[in-house]
Each structure stands twice: as C-alpha cells, then as structure tokens.
Subunit: 457 residues, 2 copies
C-alpha cells in the first residue's frame, strides 16, 4: 500500500487534525483532583467516539478510578497495541500561565507554530499523532494497515492505580506482538529517538505532627520543637556533600553503564550547558562522578516536589505550627527495589523524629525501572522509519522520567514496548504554559505512518 499517499493526506489534513486536538485539549481531564472526575469521563467519551469514526470497535471500560478506553480493529500482519493517556497534570500555579490552560490555541513563536495548552505535549498531542496516522491510512486505503488494539489510560498522571488490575483482568484481550507507547520525546529537540531505558518512581507524602496545635512562637519558641525544622533536617540529610542519596542500601541494584552504552551516549554530544541554560542554570547539581546525561538517564535521584507548613499568606505571623508536610519522590534505575527504598526512607524519617513527634506515610507506592530488549527486529525497522522522516538519524536513548506502563506490559503481558515520542525538552510539561510544537505534531503523525508501513510490509 502506498505510504506517499498517506503522508500527503496527513499534510493536507493538518489544519483539521489540529482543530481536533484543540477540541480534546479543552477538556480539563486532571486525574489527580476529584473535582475533575466528570471531565476525565468526558475525555474518554471523546476518544471512544473518535476511534469509532475510524471503524475501531471502541468502548469506555470502568475501573475503580477513571475509565480506560479500549478499541480493536482486525487486520493482517502483526498485532500492535498502541498506548497513550488522556489525563493531564494539575495547572497550578495558575497565575504563571499566559492564558487559560484549557483554552488552547495555535501560537506563532520564534521556534515556529506551537499548540499551547495543558496536555498538548503530555500526552494528548502525542496520543493524537498515532490516531491521525491511522485516520489518514484509513482514508487512503479503506482499512488500517494491520490488526491494532488501542489502550488509552486516564490515570497516568496520578500513579495509575487501576492499571495493573485492568491489565491482569484483561490480559488475553490486550496481549499483542508489540506495544507502541507515545509519551516520550525527541533527543535535544532534534534527533528522533526510541527510549529504551526508563527510571522507576517511589513517591511519598509525609506529614509530621509535633505540638498538638499551632503555637505562638514567642511563648513556645525554643522550648517546643518546630516541625518545619525537623522536616528540613530530614530533607537536608537525604543527600551527602557529593550529591549521593544517603538512604541505607539505596544504591543496591544500580547498574554501572556498559562501556558500549557509555560511548554511544558520549557520541550524542549532549550539550548540558544548553539543557541547563534553557532553565536559567549553568552548573549540574547531581552526583559529582557522573556526567549530566548519565545523571538524567541512568542514575537514581531524589526530589522534594512540594513542601508546606505554618503561615504561608501575605504578611507575617509568628506561629509555631503543629504540622509540616512534604511530597518526596525517588527516581530509581536498574534493579533497585521500590519497596526496599520506601522502607529505607521510612527509617530515615523515623530515625530523625524528636520525642513526641509522629509521622504518616499514606502512599508507600513505587514502580521499578524498565530496560527494553531491542533484539526484536521491530526496533530496527522503527529506527529506520524515524530516520527517514527527520533531518537527523534516530537513536536509542534513556529517559529520566518514569513510564511504568512499559514494565507492566513486560511483566504482566510478556510484551515488548517501543517508546517513541516527539516531545521537546522545552515543552514545559507539568509546568505552566505547556506547548507542543506543530512540527512535533505533524512530523509525529508522519513518523507513525512510516513506522506502520515499515512494520507491515
């Protein structure tokens, strides 16, 4: 079947495809906040209808949380599964957005046109690159190129609590020859890439309670221990002066890079000065004996994602608060055990609690890191297809983020995954003013058309 006709149709249909994406972006499907439950449902309905318009037998499937969207279309050749997620991150601090995050628009910028709005890059825009490739294929050829199963999740940004049970209960239905996942990025905004190494995540929200009520610091200061001071010590002690994480046994299971991978990464000529300079930084801050690229792709890290306690409004209030709170997460790699790391973190905190203090660990969840096995010939075919579309040849890369889905596909369904995406480092995902370059969207759908062609001919 002709690839050129499909590519030409994608070019011609770009304005309409953009309008469809803007329509989906207008739905504020923030999965972590119960206030947006109905919106998540609405986004799922939107996708069911869109898949049905392609002749896909699609439906919304209930879970304990937000629904899954599952669709099937029959065909010859390999059986592919495509995964994306329709939920998005919260939008605060709202005042830092230049416009309503859910009133998206196409904007002219000095890097060309971009689609601005929450979810444009993570992950609705990326998800739609595959759907649009299928739409053009269907329009040209009357059928999709092969047997395809679609799986769209609505809880990726809130820890995917329903994903594992859903995969277990529907394993026969969802197992295919290979999974395609579109939730990653280009390398340095230019080189197309297949991500083969992903970090895992251990996340916890701790609440320290000291005094039984908020106190006046003039009356109790000094004699009553301040929970913010205790929390600060707990956080300050998480790293040593070499940038290493101090939890007991934390580095158990962290692999050393092979010489082959290390030299391949050196060849990428990663420009950490530009990477950091784009966000106002000049000095890499991680482990001193690892390069910045190694730090991001292959080393475990710890970050405080939020902290709060006491009086945080305008003006001054000399309160000594009863409680202090922090959201803390660890990115893990290789064979690091999320449960062991959570236990070591609990011990780290409890060892630093003064008398009379208590602490809560409500989450306690984690996911392992993933490493793809690239022996499957589909990887080389996809790499070549990507190289044909973009000005520079494609590469296998690592990724600092955590996309546990690939690990679940492997462990629960015995299925390899190819992580291919078109996001750029400056897309500001999880931040105000998220955007997706129109080029990413356009070349992204063209890339999928090429990959579908490569995998089915």
């Amino acid at each position: 079947m002709s690839l050129d006709a499909v590519l030409a149709r994608l070019d011609a249909d770009l304005p309409a495809a953009t309008d469809r994406l803007l329509d989906l972006l207008r739905i504020p499907s923030i999965s972590t906040d119960p206030a947006y439950t109905a919106d998540c449902d609405r986004a799922a309905d939107w996708l069911v209808r869109d898949l049905q318009s392609l002749g896909v037998e699609a439906s919304k499937r209930d879970t304990a949380g937000h629904p899954m969207v599952v669709g099937h279309v029959e065909g010859d050749g390999p059986h592919l599964l495509f995964y994306g997620h329709y939920d998005v991150q919260p939008v605060d601090p709202l005042e830092l957005w230049d416009r309503d995050p859910f009133d998206p628009e196409l904007q002219d910028t000095d890097q060309g046109q971009v689609i601005r709005g929450r979810g444009s890059s993570d992950d609705k825009g990326q998800l739609m690159t595959f759907v649009e490739a299928c739409r053009a294929w269907k329009a040209e050829h009357g059928v999709l190129p092969c047997r395809i199963t679609f799986l769209f999740e609505g809880e990726e940004e809130s820890g995917s609590p329903s994903l594992v049970p859903f995969l277990q209960e529907n394993a026969d239905e969802l197992k295919t020859d290979i999974a395609l996942i579109c939730d990653t990025g280009l390398f340095e905004s230019a080189v197309p890439a297949i991500t083969t190494m992903l970090r895992g995540l251990v996340a916890e929200e701790i609440t320290l309670t000291g005094p039984s009520r908020d106190l006046h610091s003039g009356m109790y200061g000094g004699v009553a221990m301040n929970p913010i001071r205790v929390l600060s010590t707990i956080i300050a002690d998480l790293h040593d002066d070499q940038g290493r994480i101090t939890l007991e046994g934390f580095y158990d299971g962290v692999p050393e890079l092979s010489d082959a991978i290390r030299s391949q990464w050196q060849n990428l000529n990663f420009d950490h000065k530009t990477f950091l300079g784009d966000v106002g930084l000049s000095e890499p801050a991680g482990e001193k004996n690892h390069t910045p690229l190694e730090q991001i792709w292959s080393r475990p890290t710890c970050d405080v994602n939020g902290i709060w306690g006491g009086y945080t409004g305008d003006g001054f209030k000399t309160v000594l608060p009863s409680q202090a709170h922090a959201k803390i997460s660890f990115r893990i790699v290789g064979d690091q055990d999320p449960d062991a790391i959570h236990r070591a973190f609990v011990k780290h905190v409890e060892d630093r609690l003064p008398p009379d203090f208590s602490v809560e660990f409500p989450l306690g969840k984690g996911s392992k890191a993933s490493q793809m096995s690239i022996e499957n010939p589909s990887f080389e075919k996809a790499l070549k297809a990507l190289s044909d579309e973009w000005p520079r040849p494609a590469s296998y890369i690592g990724c600092g983020g955590s996309i546990p889905i690939a690990g679940y596909f492997k462990d629960l369904l015995g299925m390899d995954s190819m992580l291919i995406g078109f996001g750029r480092d400056d897309d500001q995902i999880h931040s105000p003013n998220e955007k997706y370059n129109l080029e990413s969207f356009h070349k992204g759908m063209r890339s999928w058309a090429r990959i579908l062609h490569a995998l089915t001919t």
Copy 2:
C-alpha cells in the same frame, strides 16, 4: 474616691461589657492582609466612638498604614498613657476553628465561661478591660481618676510599620509619666504579673529562586538543584545539635541571668511538664544547658513560621519547583543587635546558595529586647493592687513574646512602661479557637480599677 463602688459597678455591668466586646470582635481587623483594610478602619471608628462616650476627646489619626486611635482626658494626679492594639492575627487554617472566628460568643467550658473568637485575648479583650474600668469609674464619679492619654494601634500584628514615625511626630502629645500596656498574660494562668523582660524580634521572608521555571523532576531531577532542598539545608543548619543557633556572633549581647533573678524564677516552680503537656509535648527542645523557663524568658530562639514551595495540592505532581519560600524569625534578648543578626542571617543564607541561585530578603526589620526598670514606685503600687484582686500574690516575670512598644516608649519618649495583662497560656492567641476567659475579662477590669486607684491616691 470610692474603689468599692467602682468594683461593684463593674460586677453589675459585666453582661453589657461582654456584649460591647463581642461587638468589637465581630470586626475582622486583620492588619497584615490588605483585604481587611476597611475593617481595620471600622474597628478604629468603633473605638473612637466608645472613647467619646466616656468624655474622652478621641480621634482617628492617619498613618501610612492603618490609623491610630488617640484620646485625651484631663485630670489631676499622674498623667498615664494606656496602650492596646485593635488589629488581630489572620485566622487560617480556618478549617481548624470550631466556629466563624468573627462570630464570637460566650461559651461554657470546663474552666468556666470563655469569650471565643479571634482577638478575644490578643488584644481586643485586654484593651477593653482598661476601657471598662474607666467607664465604671466615670459612671460612679463623673470623671476619670486622673489625666489619661489613650493610644490604640492597628498594626501590632503586622510589625507596626507606622508606629515609630507616629511616636516621633507626636512625641510631645504622647509623653506621659508612665505607660500602661495591656498585651501580656498571667503567670501560669493563676498568678497576676507585671512583665519586666521582653524578647525582641527579627523577622524575614526569604524566597530562593533556582531554575527559571518549574521543571519536570523526571527530566531535570538530580542535574538541576531543587530549591526546597537548598532551603531545607539553610533551615537545618540554623541550629547545632545542642539546640544553639549557629549564626556568626548570634550570642553577642545575650546576658547571663543574675543569681537573684535565677533564684526568683526557681521559686515560681514553673511546671514545664504541664506547660508542654497541654500542647501534646513532653520534652523541652531548646538549649540543653538552660531550664525551660530560662529558654522562654531569657534566651534567644529561632523559628520557621511558614514554609512553602512546589505542588501542595491533593495528589502527586512530580514537579521540581523554580522557587521555595520560608518565613523565619528570631526572638532576641538583652543587648543583641537586630541589624547585626539580620546581617548574619543573610550571610548564613548566601553562604549556602548553590551556583545560579538567587534570594530575596524583603523585610530585614527587627526590634531590640526590652528590660523595664522597676525603680519607679508605680510598679510596687500596681503589684500590690494586683495582689489584692487575685487569689495569689502578683510577681514580676519575663515573657517570651516581643512587644516592641515598650522599647519605643523608652527610647523615643523617655517613658517607662508597665506591662500588665490577663491572658492565659491556653488562650490560643495566633491559633484557631482563640478565647479569653470571662474571669480574665472581669478580674482584668477590676484589676485596672484597683491600679488606677492605687496610682492616684
């Protein structure tokens, strides 16, 4: 003139006096929050009208911030100045209040009746004890007992920015023989007291900025320094493992207690187990070589009054924030220099800033500690009057809080102050569910009648 008649009238008029206080408490005069500017103005108007009803020539006086209320009444004998403040602390966390903080009421509790509401103890209820004593005196005798100047401030809870200029510009008008200040407490809720030792305050709000925007911790974690981690280290390093504050030169000017004062305080038999037990604590947390009472009254301290940064809403967001914030204050004693301490704090922070980080110090203000000279015979007269009213004899005490007004009266007007108040340790000032015992209100106004009588006969 007869004291007994005044006391009897105060007893008879207590329900009406309570209604008047509830009326004043309904005005949400939160000085630190610009949203309540009109309410602060309304509280000042209320007091002007109330003083005028006592025959006082009273008026609202403009400042750069909230207005002062000043009143004068002529008379024989000593010229007294009475000071109180009509502004109140913010009320958050609002959800911890059992009722609307500005819908006050009289409640029955196991410690008798209390007046519940923001400002009931700090300082509207205390301020009104003096006004009610004057009202009863005027009703019985047709005139007030002596020449009195009233000064009510509206910015005490927000650092009193207009106070010093106002005192300087109106020094001739406001200088009297002695000042009476009602903004302190009983000793251990039972012993009436004149506070002769007050700590000063240095307060600052720091904002650390690292990356120029919020980042995704999966993409930048490790390689980009997290401002919350830097802030935590800054806070953790403020104390050593003996509970001492580590700022360079911090203890310069901190006096050692005289043996006389030390033994007087030992005689008070301060029960720190009850003091701490009331707020869910058992172990004092301050400097290890000082008793809890010394820590509260005579030692400098440092507290974090608020901290915030990153994502603090429901659920989890793996953000690496651009900024982190903290409100930090120091209580200082003796001859400690607030400016020097602020400079040492700035150095402490700047020494710990990583490359590329910046920090703001918007406040930079402080007040010295105060020590009253009790040679003035008014002190002994007031001590005896208090002892006559309450079941246990009155005592000179220290106070952990900061009431810079006494220092300003001394430095700017050359005037001694007597700090006499009727608050209790469990009044929850600056906290949810603030209250003032009806006994404090009732015996407070009776105490002022006795003190006025003692000072003028």
